[in-house]
Amino acid sequence: MAKYTLKRLIMAILTLLLVACLTFLLMNSIPGSPWVSEKAPSQATLDALNAKYGLDKPLIVQLGKYLENILKGDLGVSLKMQQNRPVLDIIKEMFPVSAKIGVFALLWAILVGVPLGCLAAYNRGKWLDSLLRIICTIGVSMPSFVVASLLLTGLGGNDQSMFPTIFKASLGVKSYVLPCFALGVYPMCYISRQARSAMLDSLGQDYIKTARAKGLKNTAVIFKHALRNALIPVITYLGPQIAFVLCGGFVVESVFSVPGLGRYFVQSILNRDYPLIMGTTIFLAAFIILMNFVVDILYKVVDPRITLEEGGN
């Protein structure tokens, strides 16, 4: 266990390093310098500024400095959107809103997706299975902006209506309904498809036959033996889904004007506020990688059959 955890941890750190280096290189590949303004500063001023901020040093030294700053939690300051405000501050303010929506979206996706998948597996080959399969295939074929904007057209209304189209924190739960629903459709369908095949796999196993041969009741066989084992592979898909929900949040938050990190990230991209883009990318990447790591470890903890050192595919 310890060896596996260590290995995964090293991989996670390497991945994060790759993302950080990539962002650094991209930041430096952008033409122009930070000191360009209406009044061209003299060469002496430029040199002094470059020296002050370490921009005269070789690229590799700058990269080292950049990584060091990241470790200290210094992601730079915003250039345009909120001038000179530290990026980390902005993230701290925006992220909770996004996280809340993401958590609820994922929650309903799991709570609905898993039972639907099991239901489909249990009714394999019947009309219910076909119906659910059609719905879920359509669900994974619709980009989240399509779902979000169709919901907006179909159900949205003003502040007083059941589902306000413009997110307002003061409206409470009401304004969370549509964004969470829109965000959860894709993961729900995806999870339900995975749960179906996992459940079918599980139902074909020998221990199910044993359980039936023992004369256990149908419900006991399904819930105690089949479902519990079918859930394990579903957990593996949660890691990528967390990333998806966070990134799908960009679109959903833009459509519903949610003041979350996703929308802000997109706005900073459109405004070309580079430090903000880089900082947010690194933060979100770190979060996603961490979540993947946690899910992977959890997966091994839940299923004791998997040999840890092999990595298990």
Partner: protein, 431 residues
Amino acid sequence: MDNNIKRPKFGSLQPDIEDLLNLKPEDFAPASEEQKASFIQDRESTSYWRDAWRRLKQNKVAMVALGVIIVLILFAFVGPMIVPYDYDEFVSGAENLYPWHYSLEDQRLIESVSGNQEERLAAAIELAEAEKGSALSSIELAKIKAQITTTTVDIDEFIKENGIKYKAFGYSVGELERKEAGESVFPHVFGTDRYGRDNMVRIMIGTRVSMLVGICAALLVLLIGATYGSISGFFGGRVDAIMMRIVEIIYSVPEVLVVLLLSTALNPALLAFQSSGNGFFHRAVGVLGPNLISMFVAFGLLYWVTMARIIRGQILQLKSQEYVTAARALGASSGRIIKRHLLPNCVGQLVVTTCLQIPSAIFLESFLSFLGVGVSAPMTSLGSMAADALKGITTYGYRLVIPALILSVMILAFNLFGDGLRDALDPRLKK
């Protein structure tokens, strides 16, 4: 049928005897000469592709999906030649058309009730002022105004009472007059946008962009992934270990974030490159647009890993086969063995994985275009059309619905066809 037959419970070990009971005595009759002949015919050796095609043909869902894809290809590539408008052509007088219209007489009829709203307002104010004998206060003015504007709501009633019906397709007034004069005018089937650009042509071009991006990105992934995977799998040992660690790292990079980052950061660099010279590559950047190129770069950098993993697994299985040993004994080089012996043997996997890559590339392209970092104007794509439509969503809902629908249908068709192809080419994977 006998209802007393107890159906076995789900998962039960009892055999399902219903299938056996359904057999009729005729089913046990000896085969006729014709049937025997066709049986022998069936057993003739078939090539890999013919066999796969036979299996694919039986899959109704996949065939329907293939039909939809062909229709969409015709729509995207032949359609713009038929429609006489250009995707960036402003048709003056045809701004904000709906995909439906009223005939000229009906329009005149409606105008006679509603059109002169301002005149009626002026008349009503005059009348009230004459009654009161002095100028009206702002509250009274607002009241009259409100009354006049609310009466216009009755237009809907008026239209219903007179049995005025929508006619299909959008025409501007000028176009209707020309049509009445005997000219043939091509309709705006899906209406126009707020600059008077024909929506149908824009949707066709958008579909074309999405398809091209999807197919090109998938081919890029195929090229990089297959090369990398086959080298890693064939050489094995330390080479494999290192190459697969790299794959693992790239695999866990959150792609969407990096793609967004890349398309932002590469854009100015590519623009600077484009304006720096006039060579072949400079012009290529100009034609494709910097955003599209950065999207391809992102795809090339990040999305090949799945393909590489799958191909590596296949090569690992195949390289211990006798024909590889034979080729090696005959002195074939590693490159030749990979190219001539190993890759052709995993062609099924290559085709299926490439095909399933297309919808995910389309997905990503529309996502980026929706956020405004995809294809750059005046070029259009389904995603950016949907984003534009959000501004006038309550009045012009069709502008969102049509591109969104076509996009979803396209992704769905590619997904279903890819699934069908997988079942046909590699029956072992079927679940």
